[in-house]
Symmetry: C2
Subunit: 694 residues, 2 copies
């Protein structure tokens, strides 16, 4: 992931004094992220070393409605002087990635000397355009900027071009108490989406178009766009006078809103686009953590994210060949373009469960939206190709009564690797094989032509379908009869429990303080594994069983992974462990806002952000979709007075409000909806609401 042309530079000179936060005196400073209109503002008052005082207000937005456009409004007010002012706005192509010198291996590979280089600057007219190119892959990026000066009509404008930089500057006179205002419109276009030769023109045209609209109009559009989303999300949390909980959730949702925008050829990185952690790679985070959110609030986005998996299916097939499977597909553990980007396969490629994650997310999307067309167009092929791998990967183990076993796989918990019969993997594989079989049967009966075309294309026959069913039926699910729990894998319980008492707080996260060979040797989990399976497939075991598993794994889980607390929170809710649930909800909801893991510098934790929303909706609200049926099992966390959230289920907008004694379900949009509240069937038509006791 490369940093693009830096277009954020606007510099200010008061006569001969250049504004800088490190010289002079900052008299006031405020930075505001306005989540209702998606703008970031900075307001400050600065006294120059020579005593001139200015108020500077900068507001910027990245447009939701115009995907290539970014806009700035830069205002300067002379507080105690009159004089010459120069405002210079630049595009700077000399960018580098800033985390590449970090030693933390999770965050970024070294890209030294492999960044973008400037190939062209068009500065003889406005908008000015800078074209840059990547060294190896020759991807081309065009960045344009246009400006409007709203005051100071007698300004002297100058365009200066350097080797890797181009600057438009305005020199003008300012009088005490007067303001000047510069608007800047920036656009980016890349050869991933458009022909190289058209990029400068496209960038230039869009910048001019943005300028024609003007900043305030764009801000209005922004506000409208987000307003619709906030309305759908319907968040309202009442906890005494504490606003921090709702603030945290809104902050997380805001990031999910702005990470959206897939065109079916991209997914969402573990850090979104907020920093360089994990090199921008996409993991299973999208499918298991984010898709439920998007499917419920931005179903179109969820579909595009899943289309991306179809877009890279050929790579996944090639990857399966590299792993010596003659058929089927194996999704890369981390990727952008489709190739496996993980270099340490025991904690990368060996996480075969990513195949199930993709199939699972497709199912959840279809259950939530009713959009079976996705299965016909893309889903079935993905589900079949990935199911094949499960059948090929396992073995009927004579030493386990010929049950179907998986060896040398890595489950979600990365504090173990290369294990046999990981509970999560086996359970998800069983689900996946059954689901693939069902889908095949469904297509065969209801869409025989499509099924024939697809079967021919991927050479799928009845024997193979039967083989899936047989593997699923005979799947080995590890169980320990002494402890009456599910061991995470065959060897897990043989290991000593990690000595938590002897581990001081500063030695967490363990992976930064202990060699993997040490961590692998103990019963210690980075994140839910058995417990995640219980969340994803809630109808497979009794509550008692889930409770025993929870009580075993919770104390040995460090939550060193940001994928951890949200899941534990949801399952704690299901099990009636309300104290735990609140604890984990606090952990997940403010994780980035409070920088609790001390690594938000590398980017926010997108999966956790979606997880915090799931904590509200799936945890407190007890929402589930099972076999296409929606259900709720809500409760009010002990310290709360109420909460509200909205979801879209099969094009119906439902709002759920949980109060102290009752739950109000309102159908805000759509024809009618039915679902279960606990054991009660509920049916609502548009505009109506149903009130049930909690």
């Amino acid at each position: 992931m490369l940093n693009v042309t830096n277009s954020k530079i606007i510099e200010l000179c008061l006569d001969d004094e250049r504004f800088s936060l490190t010289s002079g005196t900052i008299l006031e400073y405020k930075r505001v992220l306005d989540m209702s209109n998606g703008s970031l503002s900075r307001e400050l008052v600065w006294r120059s070393p020579k005593g001139k005082e200015v108020q500077i207000t900068v507001k910027r937005l990245v447009s939701f409605s115009h995907r290539h456009l970014m806009a700035f409004k830069y205002q300067v007010k002379a507080l105690n002087f009159s004089g010459k002012v120069t405002v210079s706005s630049s595009l700077d192509g000399d960018v580098e990635n800033h985390t590449h010198e970090e030693e933390d291996p999770r965050f970024s590979a070294t890209l030294e000397g492999l960044g973008l280089s400037v190939s062209k600057i068009i500065a003889d007219q406005e908008p000015v355009v800078m074209v840059q190119e990547t060294c190896r892959s020759n991807l081309v990026l065009a960045c344009a900027m246009d400006h409007r000066l709203l005051s100071g009509s007698d300004a002297v404008k100058n365009i200066e071009q350097e080797h890797q930089k181009v600057t438009v500057s305005y020199q003008l006179d300012i009088k005490q108490s007067e303001s000047i205002c510069l608007e800047k419109y920036v656009t980016y276009y890349t050869s991933l989406d458009y022909p190289v030769e058209e990029l400068p023109e496209l960038a230039s045209r869009m910048a001019a178009k943005g300028m024609a609209k003007g900043f305030d109009i764009l801000l209005g559009e922004q506000s409208e766009y987000l307003g619709r989303l906030w309305d759908k999300a319907g968040l309202d949390i009442k906890v005494d006078n504490i606003t921090s909980i709702e603030q945290a959730l809104r902050f997380n949702l805001f990031h999910l809103f702005q990470a959206a925008g897939s065109n079916g050829r991209r997914s969402i990185g573990a850090k979104g686009l907020t920093s360089e952690g994990y090199d921008g790679h996409y993991f299973w985070d999208t499918e298991i953590y984010m898709i439920p959110f998007y499917a419920a609030l931005m179903p179109g986005e969820a579909r595009k994210l899943l289309e991306y998996r179809y877009y890279i299916l050929d790579y996944a097939c090639e990857r399966a060949r590299v792993l010596n499977h003659v058929k089927g597909a194996l999704y890369p553990w981390r990727t952008i373009a489709g190739e496996e980007g993980s270099s340490y396969y025991p904690a990368g490629t060996a996480q075969y469960h990513i195949n199930a994650a993709v199939a699972y997310a497709i199912n959840k999307y279809v259950e939530m939206t009713g959009d079976f067309s996705f299965i016909l167009e893309f889903g079935a092929e993905i589900i079949f190709q990935t199911a094949r791998l499960w059948e090929d990967l396992g073995t009927y183990n004579s030493r386990k009564g010929y049950l179907f076993c998986y060896h040398e796989v890595t489950g979600p918990d990365e504090y173990t690797a290369l294990v046999n019969n990981n509970f999560y993997t086996n359970l998800m594989a069983r689900w996946h094989l059954n689901y693939a079989y069902e889908i095949a049967r469904n297509l065969e009966i209801n869409y025989p032509d499509q099924f024939k075309r697809l079967s021919d294309k991927i050479e799928l026959d009845q024997d193979e379908l039967q083989a899936w069913l047989k593997a699923a039926k005979n799947m080995y699910i590890p169980y320990d009869h002494i402890l009456q729990i599910h061991p995470q894998d065959d060897g897990f319980l043989d290991k000593e429990v990690w000595d938590f008492k002897a581990t001081p707080a500063e030695r967490y996260p363990l992976m930064l303080n202990y060699h993997p060979l040490v961590i692998y040797r103990y019963q210690v989990c980075k994140q839910p594994d058995v417990i995640l399976a219980h969340f994803l497939l809630p109808d497979q075991f009794s509550l008692d069983q889930k409770c025993r598993d929870y009580n075993y794994y919770e104390p040995i889980t460090t939550h060193d992974s940001s994928l951890s607390p949200s899941i534990f929170g949801i399952v704690a809710s299901e099990l009636g462990l309300y104290e735990d649930a609140e604890y984990f909800f606090a952990m997940t909801s403010r994780l980035d806002l409070d920088n609790n893991l001390n690594d938000t510098y590398y980017g926010v934790h997108m999966a956790n952000m979606a997880g915090s929303w799931m904590n509200l909706v799936y945890g407190f609200g007890g929402m589930r979709t099972t076999n296409g049926n929606l259900s709720f099992n809500p409760y009010l966390p002990p310290d709360w007075q109420g909460y509200k959230f909205g979801i879209i289920f099969k094009e119906n907008r439902l709002e759920v409000e949980v109060k102290e004694n009752e739950v109000v379900y309102s159908l805000r949009e759509g024809n009618s909806i039915n679902f279960r509240h606990r054991n009660k069937d509920i049916f609502i038509v548009e505009g109506e609401k149903v009130i049930v006791s909690i």
Copy 2:
């Protein structure tokens, strides 16, 4: 491992025609490695494009007696012409490694741009000297050359210096049927052994000294040196008229002879110094495969190789800290200077058994030589520090009756990784802990002062000694009661057996044709693991048990590792499987000479070379040392008429000759020796021989 200054260049011009193997016509060509005098000769007759015919004879040697010296004798005879001849001899500093572009990951890391650079050339006097330096570590190398022209006194000499090259050339007249002869003396000195500023002078002085001796004297010394070694080795193999067997063994021993020369700060790389495979790194190969050879024929060398392990003990202690062990030492899996050079720890650092290999080799050395002083000076500290790790690494597993277990280790067989209770590891750890305890008790009683000093230094107390004993006593040794064999590890038998029938010959070695995740998933071995433990610790299990284990593992072992056939050969001999034994002996003995693995380009397989000698002595000869006692259990391979070998046991040179009906034991040097022939005690005094029936 860097290629040093190239000093092998001698070029020839006949008038204006430059000799080259790729122009003109080669009329005769012969290359001979003379293993009796350690010289390599090339003899050829060349017809130039213009029809001049010359006979060229080049002989070169790397001196055994003078460790810095190399010498050449270059002769040219004009066969059909008279004319001008120019002979040019160079030092070329523009060297690079030639395997770095290979894709095979076993062989070499990329060193592009990291080679030696020339820092000085002294060419105003002879010997000329070139000084080179490494880029990062600033190691300095001086290379000097001196010449003597033995004919053609009216030659015109010229010294030419280029940027990275220096050339001494002689121009002279030659008459038909006459010869000229140039001797070249080259020396290398490095800053690893001497102060940087003295290197040019040292190199220069030694080159002159070599020249003063002259090539033929050096050749004589060479012959004498090797003669003594060949005499000690006492090889004589009678198999009809087949000489290829003895030739192969001599070729292997010759490489072992020339790999020797440790000064206690270096060991022997997996490929010796014969090519760039494995980057010149030292592995456990030295201890498990080579030390038995050196201990038996070059005991001084064996001691130096073990001293090397003491020299890097501090690094091994640091490495243990990296692996979060508060005490003890863990030897790096691959290293030169002492730091871990393996980047993939599941098949590197996780091979904890290297600790046992070092302790085991020390024990074998002491048993063979009686040199207990090594234990006092170096051995005890190594043995204790490495034993500590075994105690810290394991755990009393409540689920296995509180027996002592090892999790997440990799055994010798690299077709599995990160397993629990690897049979080899557990068995060797048990032996190691017991041995460390014995040594400690021995020192405590017999060398109380030394023991106190050492105990204080490494903070060793009685509790820890008891802990070693307890771990050893309670060591878990995996056993399968159904198959009545030792499983390679806890999960090994759960896996499917590799489908050998479906694996065509060209897909071997498996590691180059299958992803490790695939290989790890099957019962398939690259090399002996259980079987190696049976060889190293022969008195732990019954012959029947070893036979069952052999019969189980032999069919599932691919021998993709050159460490494999020799061990299977020895154990086959022990078990009376003579056909197998001959098969593996053939495999091990000519492995490099016939380039059977098709990778000798990357260097010869030093461990296998020593292994082939062990096949003769430990396999056919049935030699063992147990608790300091020597024994033989020889047999004659079915197709052989006889064989002979020599060993040095506690300073006594014993020769063993196995004939069709009898075995002749002769004490060639030393006072007296006793040992067992099968169940019979034998005692011989110097000069005597004892004949027993076979």
